[in-house]
Symmetry: C2
Subunit: 114 residues, 2 copies
DNA sequence: TACTATAGATACCAATTGGAAACTATTATT
DNA sequence: AATAATAGTTTCCAATTGGTATCTATAGTA
């Protein structure tokens, strides 16, 4: 789900709008991993399992364009880059938690059903 | 986001799991439009703006496979088919509402910023 | 007889998304 | 001199997703 430079204005429905900003395969998980504060690129790479470098970078850039996270580059060698949720991004946490709770319940149900 | 016949079991993360079930371009809005009870296919077609017949059918089938909605066919002519949220689907409503609220706020902010 | 309504199916095509592998730059370490 | 660490980029390819247009069935209506 590509979000092209904050062009959500053509959307009318708030639900649709929200999905455009946090949809996509990994965005939810990246936001979730930033829930307790700053994380470095490499940490996210390890925490968000199954993601490739390319995708992680892409997702982070989209979230940054959407002003849900900030990106801070330290001019060191080797390089250090830190990511953090913005206020707007943090507003999404309650909802991600709700979703995670629901997901957990459902996963448990599925295991029982097997 | 294709959900192939309830194969969410390979997922470990609850957030990821949840996104697999309600991600995709239109799923959120379809669920949202079913919030007040039964809707017919044609009603959804009109309510979920910008969706094609093919996509609506596809989304509805996926939601059905995932047991988030039920599908009831009446053998009449012309045909009548009704869709309704299951209990599991209804559990998602608070979260969709939260998301909608957030989206609405953000959209208002964007308008002000222009 | 032709048209309408309803809920799709189907075939084909285009765009988007995601992934693998190789490559970059610089400093410190072995 | 080779290797490791970090945060990427680039290219190419495959899979997924979404869209357009056309077609189906049946009864009632004009």
């Amino acid at each position: 789900m590509k979000t092209k430079k904050n062009n959500h204005t053509d959307t009318i429905c708030a639900v649709d709008y929200a999905f455009q900003r946090i949809g996509g395969k990994h965005k939810g998980r990246v936001i979730y991993q930033l829930r307790n504060g700053i994380k470095r690129y490499g940490e996210l790479r390890r925490l968000v399992t199954g993601i490739t470098a390319k995708m992680l970078t892409q997702v982070l850039r989209e979230l940054e364009d959407d002003e849900l996270i900030t990106r801070t580059v330290y001019l060191e060698v080797p390089p250090r880059v830190e990511y953090e949720l913005t206020d707007t991004g943090r507003e999404l946490l309650p909802f991600i938690r709700l979703l995670a709770d629901w997901g957990k319940q459902q996963m448990e149900k599925e295991i029982i059903a097997e």
